[in-house]
């Protein structure tokens, strides 16, 4: 499966304007999808349809709310896609663990480090931190960080 197949699958679920090509030579990614919270499940299904695997789920904290970045790639031809989902503070996302098993642990990790809840997750326990941890260490208001910025300051939008 190639990037074109993935694009075709994705174009069924997101608007073409939300698919932004990226410069692989510059930043290692080929395509970026700006998805809304309610599109996450459909995007994950489209990626599975295109025979991609889930490379990682990362979250980043911004002053205007955290972002989740899902990263899909194919093992037959390089097609790294970043799916960027902007959340408002306290908003939850639907779990994609039923589509990709790999997501189960990544979501647990994002939950314990950022406090983002995943709806329909079968087992949203803490993964790396102690079971009774009552803090979310990767939020920018925890511990020592160098800066706390908005998405606009970094991506200029």
């Amino acid at each position: 499966m190639s990037l074109e197949d993935l694009k075709e699958e994705l174009s069924k679920v997101v608007e073409p304007g939300d698919m932004v090509p990226r410069d692989y030579e510059k930043d290692g990614c080929l395509l970026e999808i700006k998805a809304r919270v309610d599109q996450v499940e459909a995007v994950a299904k489209a990626a599975l349809e295109a025979d991609c695997f889930l490379e990682s789920i990362a979250a980043v904290d911004f002053t205007n709310g955290p972002q989740i970045i899902y990263q899909f790639n194919s093992c037959t031809s390089i097609s790294r896609v970043l799916v960027r989902v902007q959340l408002s503070r306290g908003e939850s996302v639907v779990s994609i663990g039923s589509i990709y098993d790999a997501a189960l642990w990544y979501e647990r990790e994002v939950f314990e480090l950022f406090g983002i809840r995943f709806d329909n997750h079968p087992d949203l326990r803490r993964l790396l931190l102690p079971e009774d941890a009552d803090f979310y260490p990767l939020l920018k208001d925890y511990g020592k960080v160098h800066a706390f910025r908005s998405t606009e300051e970094i991506y200029g939008e």
Partner: protein, 372 residues
């Protein structure tokens, strides 16, 4: 899960804690097993005992200061993590690395890959009850540690790569010693195969045990020898060639079934391929500088970046968000053992407790890498 301790369970099933301190878990890993007699019904790997918060540390450190952290994630393939991080930042800033430095990095990374595989070989066979091969492989591995110690100054947690190159040049003695090591390890393959590969007890412990096929591996995001043993020739060194790998000739060994024996064979063949890469790189090693001119503090332009390399266990990636200052805004390390370990939740149920040792060993996890 923990509350189930308190509830009455049927007479047949019971819980067994394997770890956190267990000789075959290769680090502090706890496997929470629900057993029906000797068969596993449910498996839950409990991780996080070695969580040091590297990703949080990155946010309060300069890009340069974070460098030593990278080799402490996976302490068995530290140079490859080093290489991945350094190459990611170089790509962000746009630093051209001199060819000699790239070749040195590749030689050292491949030596590190072999040392990781040799350690795995010894400990895996020891987990299965064979003590002698462990001594053989550690004897060979010691040569690599000596070689890398000479150039980098450390035996395990190397911080040899620098932005723009490497910290120290290699000398003739390094080249001679590496050539000698290649010869030596090649002459040992017969011993390895006679001792282990052809050993009937080993074959029975590994064949058809812990089958991870293509579909399962992709669902859990497994990479590295596990995915290749399932017949998928996916290797970052070929899929998205970094450094000078595109100029070197090597093959990607694959298996067919994806059982523990396939994973064992894939790793042995990978060591031979690494030797082949090292020989070519030594032959082509150009003269010249080993480090480009780099500002004291790097300030990558704003935006987010991803860079992947192939470690001994699979695809390692650094996702870095930069806010234009000399501190990373967010650094996420995608580590291969994460998916490789998670797949156990699906592979272990239905197998015997005794096979857990073989399956866990064949997956070759490094727990501090999972915990970060």
């Amino acid at each position: 899960m923990a509350n189930e301790f308190l509830e009455p369970i049927t007479e047949q099933t019971f819980y067994l804690n394997m770890g956190p301190q267990h000789p075959s878990t290769h680090g502090v890993l706890r496997l929470f097993l629900k057993l029906d007699g000797e068969y596993i019904v449910e498996a839950d790997p409990v991780i996080g005992y070695g969580h040091r918060g590297h990703e949080k540390m990155a946010e309060s450190h300069l890009y340069e200061q974070f460098l030593p952290n990278t080799s402490r994630m996976d302490y068995l393939a530290g140079l490859i993590f080093n290489h991945g991080y350094v190459a990611a930042v170089e790509k962000m800033v746009g630093i051209e690395v001199p060819p000699r430095a790239e070749y040195i990095r590749v030689i050292c990374a491949e030596l590190n890959r072999i040392s990781s595989h040799l350690l795995w070989f010894g400990t895996y066979v020891m987990d299965l009850g064979g003590f002698t091969p462990f001594l053989y492989s550690f004897d060979d591995r010691e040569n690599i540690l000596d070689i890398l110690d000479r150039v980098s100054g450390s035996r395990l947690t190397y911080s040899y790569c620098r932005f723009g190159g490497v910290s120290r040049d290699v000398d003739d003695e390094f080249i001679t010693a590496t050539h000698q090591f290649v010869e030596r390890l090649r002459s040992r393959w017969d011993d390895y195969h006679n001792l282990v590969t052809k050993n009937v007890i080993f074959i029975h412990r590994a064949k058809d045990v812990g089958v991870i096929n293509r579909e399962l591996a992709l669902r859990f995001g497994c990479t590295g020898p596990i995915l290749r043993a399932a017949g998928v020739p996916y290797d970052i060194r070929k899929a998205e060639p970094y450094s000078v790998y595109s100029e070197l000739d090597f093959e990607i060994p694959t298996g067919t079934k994806g059982d523990a024996l396939d994973r064992y064979l894939v790793r042995l063949q990978e060591m031979e391929q690494s030797l082949h890469i090292i020989e070519q790189a030594l032959e082509r090693l150009p003269d010249g500088a080993i480090k480009a001119a780099v500002p004291n503090k790097v300030r990558p332009p704003r935006g987010d970046y991803y860079f992947a390399v192939e470690s001994a266990r699979g695809a390692v990636g650094f996702y870095i968000v930069s806010d234009g200052t000399s501190y990373p805004y967010r650094l996420k390390a995608r580590v291969p053992s994460y998916g490789n370990l998670q797949v156990l939740t699906e592979v272990l149920p239905g197998t015997l407790v005794a096979d857990t040792i073989s399956i866990l060993g064949s997956i070759d996890i490094v727990v501090p890498e999972v915990d970060r």
